[in-house]
Symmetry: C3
Subunit: 278 residues, 3 copies
Amino acid sequence: WGRAAPQPPGLPLALRRAFSNDKILVELDESSGVATMKFKSPPVNSLSLDFLTEFCISLEKLENNRACRGIIFTSAVPKIFSSGLDITEMCGKSTEHYAEFWRAVQEMWLRLYGSNMVTVAAVNGSSPAGGCLLALSSDYRIMVENPKFSIGLNEAQLGIVAPFWFKDTFVNVVGHRVAERSLQLGSLHPAPEALKFGLVDELVAEEKLQEKAAAVMAQWLALPDHARQLTKSMMRKAVLDRLVAHREEDIQNFISFISKESIQKSLRMYMEMLKKKK
Amino acid sequence: WGRAAPQPPGLPLALRRAFSNDKILVELDESSGVATMKFKSPPVNSLSLDFLTEFCISLEKLENNRACRGIIFTSAVPKIFSSGLDITEMCGKSTEHYAEFWRAVQEMWLRLYGSNMVTVAAVNGSSPAGGCLLALSSDYRIMVENPKFSIGLNEAQLGIVAPFWFKDTFVNVVGHRVAERSLQLGSLHPAPEALKFGLVDELVAEEKLQEKAAAVMAQWLALPDHARQLTKSMMRKAVLDRLVAHREEDIQNFISFISKESIQKSLRMYMEMLKKKK
Amino acid sequence: WGRAAPQPPGLPLALRRAFSNDKILVELDESSGVATMKFKSPPVNSLSLDFLTEFCISLEKLENNRACRGIIFTSAVPKIFSSGLDITEMCGKSTEHYAEFWRAVQEMWLRLYGSNMVTVAAVNGSSPAGGCLLALSSDYRIMVENPKFSIGLNEAQLGIVAPFWFKDTFVNVVGHRVAERSLQLGSLHPAPEALKFGLVDELVAEEKLQEKAAAVMAQWLALPDHARQLTKSMMRKAVLDRLVAHREEDIQNFISFISKESIQKSLRMYMEMLKKKK
């Protein structure tokens, strides 16, 4: 499924040791082979079309850089890892826009879940919906042990349904029963509960997070790349193939669902509520 | 798979707020949208053809009643939730009877596991075999914390085999390993063990059961119906589809298995043993 | 998939109460119906072509002996259950040899995972790679509670990849998430961790191991054979069928992978390291 990410014309693709665009800061430590991708798109690192495009380009660059073997994902915005898909992209836009946006969401997941590199999510804030998917698609999840930070696929709370490949990824991490209950309730699990359900692999104090992520990464990088990559692919292939086989259908489903007036209305109400919260 | 339940001719189908037939008492609280189905078929709420028919009709009425959004299943018979399939229906009867009975068992599961409503099993007594399936097919299971009450798919103890869709439902709740071991041993798990294995979601004192079931129901009903229903269907569709695709074959398998003289003999012996127990 | 095991010409196949060949001691207690297969191939009970052939022949004899209903696997070599596939069989040999060896590995698993008998692994030592598969393929795993003994599919540590049917067997026991992480890291889990992850079912003191294995076996044999066997087959059939459908392809994959100079080199280095350890 290695089709290229959608690339905005004119964007410079030359490799630099560190490059910063608008929304993601990428730092590569060539001595360890570990890159850090820091999400810096305030207020809540929402996954807009621009963010997703930049994410895919950054990921592709690192995949193609032989000096890079692993990536740590973390947030530069306090208290939030990522708030998930940007609702403004799904509200009051054209069918063409919905299609472009959804294709970018798919692309992000296909590239991340299928990445050959070791991927560690250092979850230093809340991580609902698409933010949770980002963490679930990594190889390992470390979360700050703050019970005010929560994580989960809470789409049902907004009156929408997580796509089947969000669900497949979730089931692969927490099993069928936990996924069924959590998805139906649209649960956001506080960090300690997320650990209990296996949604994250461990909790650490905030000040220890980067150190711990580096230690976990070193442990995973101690393995020979080739055998680890083939093993990862063996574990994830069935679920990746399912989206690849139904990609256009999934886009059409998204468009027809999101275009419903009832769904548009609940998204508008949700956005109003968010604005008042500020 | 929305085919209609087998409906005995002449049975009145008019909607009433509360209706009681022989074996199940249905109470609908229109203010909360929650119905309670109380099994009242002494001595052990066994799933006879009559019970199953009444169950399907009651369920269908509630599905079609827009005032109803959720159902709590519980027993009006002390110490037993349901003893499972009625063995007298499987012993010394005609091939036609076996076919009719098995189709009713399938229908019960297809309607319950695929129900659009929120379903909560308030398990206030032991729940072997088909009784366990009833609980497993609900969205949430609360059991009285009495270690004398047990639950499990114990078919193997009787020399029979749980059908593949009992197994699929079980695996979806407890995972492959627990299911493999429990099914092979025909285990009946005392309530505390059932909680440990995830066979039930929580235990409460008997006097708190209905209150707890109502609280859980309220939590699930807080979600928008449409998103919750689509999510539930996404989680359960693969397993439901499997029976729908093999329904007639499954009936033939049941008939040829149950018609074996060796199986008939062990069922007769089991019934003799039960009679002596009284 | 009941094709016969490869049988060396001239080997006596007559049934004896106890028979000992070179590598496995089989003792059958006809009063209980329980056989014990003791691996006695020092220094580490590695799964050579000879060992696998003897294993399959012994298993087949017991399957065909109506006096035998269950088998306990254990080691007669201190501190090691089995070290897994014999690396000398995979190093510097002909394509024909690789094919013959891999077919024997497949045969071992097909016969063991699909065995009609109750199989209990009494793991009295470390059990990496193929040794772990042997335990995973049994119905129940008891391990000595010595944290110096470890168990796991550690292929990735050697730069090789566990075949898909090792993976399927592993996932059936520990679930997708634990399997994904453990396989990618090539983890060898000390006994207490193996228990925590469900890789083994219980731990006992070394001097209690045989007694415990006998007690577990008696519990499983209390069930009627026919229902238990059909249930076991229902649980394992999908995964068994997958190898049967891809058996020749899997052999070709193994040959082309193992024939690579880079793989041969790492296996040679690993063997050198093992020799120096002595």
